[in-house]
Symmetry: C2
Subunit: 491 residues, 2 copies
């Protein structure tokens, strides 16, 4: 047994951190025993002899032997330190595995069946939807808010905090949402989450059991579908038209929902607004059948042309609506801050349930955000972004008309951060989308938002383009590139 | 119709935020129409007349009428602005609901059946387990780390970030864990989460489907049980003895697990260490049956007496183990930062799945934490806390012997932040626990960690006491109070 070799092997694999001599020896021996390099029944060198051989202190060797004894790897006997039979050896385990079910293929079904996006959410290629104009965010102001907030945090506030979030932020959000979105709520109804994906997970778990039906817009937001599928729910796709989600009487009768997911202010991805008449019908039917409505109001604050229709939540008192908001679009995604506004009748139970299944904390971030809202900096930033996105949209639409007006038709839309366009050329949106990715562009195919994704591809053959990050002066060049890729596909 | 009254009603309910005159009028009219105060078919006052009556600019009235028209609440006709029939009215909805299934009782079964803790995790009463000594945390150092981190964040980093977390933090954790816990891993295997509860949610979703069996220690950690139940899994309680979780052959044959949850370094709540022999047996059986092991190493860094047994994860190469770590105990809970170390074979699939069901971000916090670890401040803080908790445990145990040695027997234990003790007096632990709560103390009854909670109450009749926040000099007084409450129960 070459102990020096053992040591150098562990030294090489221990990363950038320095091990003490005694830890290095302990670790080397442990690995050697585990990996079968020192067989069971072997006798280790006497401590003095090993210390001399390695040129280290005898105390280091004593430490390593003692620890290995404590942990059951070796036993002290009259004949010295003897290696125990600690396992059928690691190699046996590996060999057995090859014969057994392979773990690699044993991910859960719910995860294997998730709708897959092809690109990461942070993909910096042009047209990627969902990420705001990060370089226009007032980072210095936010940094100052964070520094101020950290200076107010007392040690006692470093714990888990209130189940529902920091009272100051809940109050700021309630005040803001009542005015800006016509939401009817008290601060007690506001629950802080780490963003819409977390809100969706919590809603699915809290309001529905595995196997229950959830209505989703078709085409619709894949992130919501992923959350519901992860929670074990059954997705029921409901068609969308120019007035939003359009359930028929047959839908209500044959596949009544336990839960439904709506983007009423700006349907994702198509951009339609749910009509007032449909809003009432959905509320009335939901009340009659005991269904819950999740209202995802992801970008209504960024609408360019006048205020959007107020929330469904606020149409009547005590609607069965969980209203979801996020600061990922209006502030920045890395903030990981969003909220749910639950019906007053649900506050106590939701508070209790969230205490068991979720954790809060993040006190400084919440204080800083409340300060950002209350001081008016949030509203000011939003006003700037609305104007900016309106300009960017106009520049993009003009460039599209110029370079590819014969290939596509842009949908009219109240704004936000993305637009959709129908593909008029005889091409499949997915093929074009794949081709654009190969050219460093990334336009999402509308057919991938359908459920199942293959469905009705003729009707939804087109693209969704994010424009928040495309400067007006760059629109012409990038659209020219895009048009070239599409034309090459047609040829 | 008294328009002035309407306005004042909305003004009163709009919170602390000021509405403009035009928004106030719009909102007042909208509410009045929705609530039936202005019936459908009614004609609104002419704009000029209303402006005069309210003493506001006519443009404000025009704005409000236009917006209501756009949104379908009123229609312009030759006779003026007429209120549409927008709904069967809110009051009908409320009335209908009373006849329909009440939403209030329609929370999901999985949430209604959660094991309930009685107190909030931030309850400041003495003995509350799980929260570290917050006033000993080097808050000024952390504040400085955060400020430095924010200064390095570029606008482009404000997006969603890498699915698995910031590369710098993943590398710091991998380096640290290899040395301190014998974990075998590369930085690619480390996935940052917002803490153990989030890690458990992700593991349950990624590795098991609704109805699958998950083995949990009995007694065991209720937070883990809540996560598994929320994910729709079936809990199989496995008894625990002095050598940790003790599954029998019958358990393996009759209720084989898809997933199992272990606290091998310091069983929660009893404190036993899983023996090396059991570790091998569990690994071998899991490999043979394709089961996944979740190793929750929640407080091994805080062990007082020598290093704990190394992780199960590192016992052999490629063990089917997801190793969970958290910074809630070693740093502070409000940080909301933890991690999973997944097998190398799972890295790509986990990365892809997490991209669909979770969101990252929080770049400054991750950079600051990596800096805290790499600079040695983390290890220094841990050394201080280990010594502190050792002193606090010793003071608490001495006080218990002094004041109530005849009532309870304290278990021996390698340390951490809590201890357990058996109740020797003829009392039920739950009754005593309830009585302590009434006296501003909070000791958890061991029987509430059993599954189902009523099970085997005779065997686990005792308490779990957190001591991290009880200063050595305060131990005597607080234990004297506790002893008095218990003796009063016996009388």
């Amino acid at each position: 047994m070459d102990y020096g070799l053992l040591l150098s092997k562990v030294e090489r694999t221990s990363g950038t951190r320095k091990l003490t001599q005694q830890d290095l020896l302990y670790e080397s021996l442990r690995r050697a025993i585990l990996d079968g390099d020192i067989g069971h029944g072997s006798r280790l060198l006497a401590t003095r002899a090993l210390a001399e051989q390695l040129g280290i202190a005898r105390n280091s060797v004593l430490y390593a032997y003692e620890r290995l004894t404590d942990e059951g790897f070796i036993s002290a006997s009259r004949h010295g330190s003897i290696v125990n039979r600690v396992s059928t050896s690691a190699s046996t385990i590996v060999a057995r595995r090859d014969g057994a079910q392979a773990h690699e293929t044993r991910l859960s079904l719910r995860v294997r069946n998730l709708p897959r996006e092809r690109t990461s959410p942070d993909d910096p290629t042009p047209f990627r939807p969902g990420v705001p104009a990060l370089d226009e965010f007032p980072l210095a102001q936010w940094r100052a808010s964070m520094e101020r907030a950290w200076r107010t945090v007392a040690p006692g506030e470093l714990g888990y905090g209130n189940n529902a979030g920091h009272p100051a932020l809940r109050r700021s959000i309630a005040d803001y949402m009542r005015v800006s979105r016509g939401v009817r709520c008290t601060p007690e109804q506001v629950f802080i989450t780490s963003g819409t994906q977390a809100s969706l997970d919590l809603c699915a778990c809290m309001l529905a059991d595995p196997g229950d039906s959830v209505w989703v817009e078709d085409p619709g937001y894949n992130g919501a579908k992923a959350a519901f599928q992860a929670a074990g729910l059954r997705l029921v796709p409901i068609p969308v038209d120019a007035a939003g989600m359009a359930p028929t009487q047959a839908h209500w009768d044959r596949t009544p929902p336990r839960l439904m997911y709506l983007t009423p202010s700006h349907q994702y991805p198509l951009g339609s607004v749910l009509s007032l008449e449909r809003r009432w019908s959905i509320i009335e039917n939901s009340v009659a059948r005991g269904a819950w409505i999740i209202e995802d109001d992801y970008d209504s604050e960024l609408r360019h042309s006048g205020p959007p229709l107020p929330s469904i939540q606020g149409l009547a008192p005590d609607t069965p609506v969980i209203y979801l908001g996020t600061f990922s679009k209006t502030m920045f995604p890395a903030l990981r801050m969003g909220f749910m506004i639950v019906p007053a009748s649900l506050v106590n139970e939701a508070d209790e349930a969230l205490g068991e299944i979720a954790r809060q904390g993040r006190v400084a971030e919440q204080i800083a955000l409340a300060d950002f809202i209350d001081s008016g900096r949030y509203a000011r930033h939003l006003r700037r972004m609305r104007r900016l996105y309106q300009q960017r949209r106009a520049a993009l639409v003009a460039a599209i008309e110029r370079h590819m007006g014969d290939l596509v038709t842009v949908s009219s839309d109240g704004g936000g951060m993305h637009l959709t366009m129908r593909l008029d050329a005889p091409l499949r949106d997915r093929d074009v989308s794949a081709a654009t990715r190969a050219h460093g562009l990334s336009i999402a195919a509308l057919s991938t938002f359908c459920q199942p994704p293959a469905h009705d591809a003729a009707r939804y053959n087109g693209f969704m383009l994010g424009y928040a990050s495309i400067r007006a002066e760059d629109a012409d060049a990038v659209v020219a590139r895009l048009a070239a890729v599409i034309r090459a596909q047609g040829a």
